[in-house]
């Protein structure tokens, strides 16, 4: 799997490199998204003497990985980290994708588990129906449960994630 080299501009086969419009058309991704991916370091291209962007054909594979990953809710920053962690920043091979995909599946499983727990908590909450600011651990994070630390205790505060 060779990556097109920037340092080999001499007579590249026309089909080996793509304009941003071609990448967009072939991958079904908007031109603006291609630019965005590039600005975030997720894909790399080069410029012609006329300052037009060109991309290696392998960029399509990379875009596919990015799109599928995004579709399952993986933030771009995590996709970026995963892609740059590949040796020499190579375009993911089938094996690389298998590894990444397994990681994303574990991530999905984790989200599913947390949502299911929340669902169960909400069910018991509705079933309880106390809706009391004095006794409900979900509603009353600061008082009765203060000894266990601030925040909702019914739902595991350790699961807090940075939403930024």
């Amino acid at each position: 799997m060779s990556v097109a080299k920037k340092s080999a501009p001499a007579g590249p086969a026309p089909a080996r490199e793509l304009t941003v419009g071609e990448v967009a058309a072939r991958s079904g991704v908007a031109v603006s998204a291609i630019h965005f991916y590039e600005s975030k370091g997720l894909i790399k291209g080069w410029r012609t003497v006329g300052n037009q962007r060109r991309y290696p054909r392998e960029v399509l594979r990379r875009v596919a990985v990015i799109k599928v990953s995004q579709r399952v809710g993986i933030p771009l920053s995590a996709i970026h980290d995963a892609l740059t962690s590949l040796p020499k920043g190579r375009t993911p091979t089938a094996e690389d994708w298998g590894t990444l995909s397994a990681r994303w599946r574990a991530d999905l499983d984790d989200r599913i588990t947390r949502l299911k727990k929340l669902r169960d908590d909400l069910t018991s909450c509705i079933g309880c129906g106390c809706l009391s600011l004095d006794s409900c651990p979900l509603y009353n994070p600061g008082d009765r449960c203060a000894k266990e630390g601030p925040g909702p205790q019914l739902l595991d505060p350790d699961l807090m994630v940075d939403s930024e």
Binding site: G28, A64, V72, W97, R105, L108, L115, C125, L131, V161
Partner: protein, 143 residues
């Protein structure tokens, strides 16, 4: 809309610092929630922010939602079921919780189907933005 009148702090009202301390969140987070319309406060004559005690369950809900990856934008929609101009009643809360629960159910179902898709993609391994049926469906969905 008496709650929106500038006034003095009453015993049951909380300052932003008190909300932060009791919810375990940073003051900046409380301010952020308010800027996003997730919680509603009032102002004293001295321009201090004050919140009704029902802000605590609201904040707990928001914090909990964030912890499981539910976007704030989704919570804003569901939180509109809780009145801000008066203290939410038991019925208000039940309707809210019921709606939130069905939203969570939908999220779980969606994640399950995404997981199945991902597994399919992993098995197929074509990794082609041109031919991938999943991406074609995604692109069609977007347009």
């Amino acid at each position: 809309m008496t709650r929106n009148k500038a006034k003095k702090k009453t015993r049951s009202e909380l300052t932003v610092g008190e909300v932060a301390a009791r919810s375990g969140l940073a003051v900046s987070a409380i301010q952020f929630y308010e800027s996003k319309g997730l919680i509603v406060g009032t102002r004293t004559a001295g321009r201090r922010r004050l919140y009704g005690s029902d802000v605590l369950p609201r904040v707990a809900v928001i914090k909990t939602a964030q912890s499981v990856g539910i976007p704030l934008s989704a919570m804003r929609d569901i939180l509109t079921l809780l009145p801000t101009e008066r203290v939410p009643s038991r019925d208000d809360w039940n309707i809210f919780l019921d709606t939130w629960r069905s939203d969570v159910d939908k999220r779980v179902a969606r994640l399950h189907s995404l997981r199945a898709e991902l597994l399919k993609c992993e098995t197929c391994g074509c990794l082609s933005a041109e031919t991938c049926p999943l991406l074609a469906a995604e692109n069609a969905h977007e347009t």
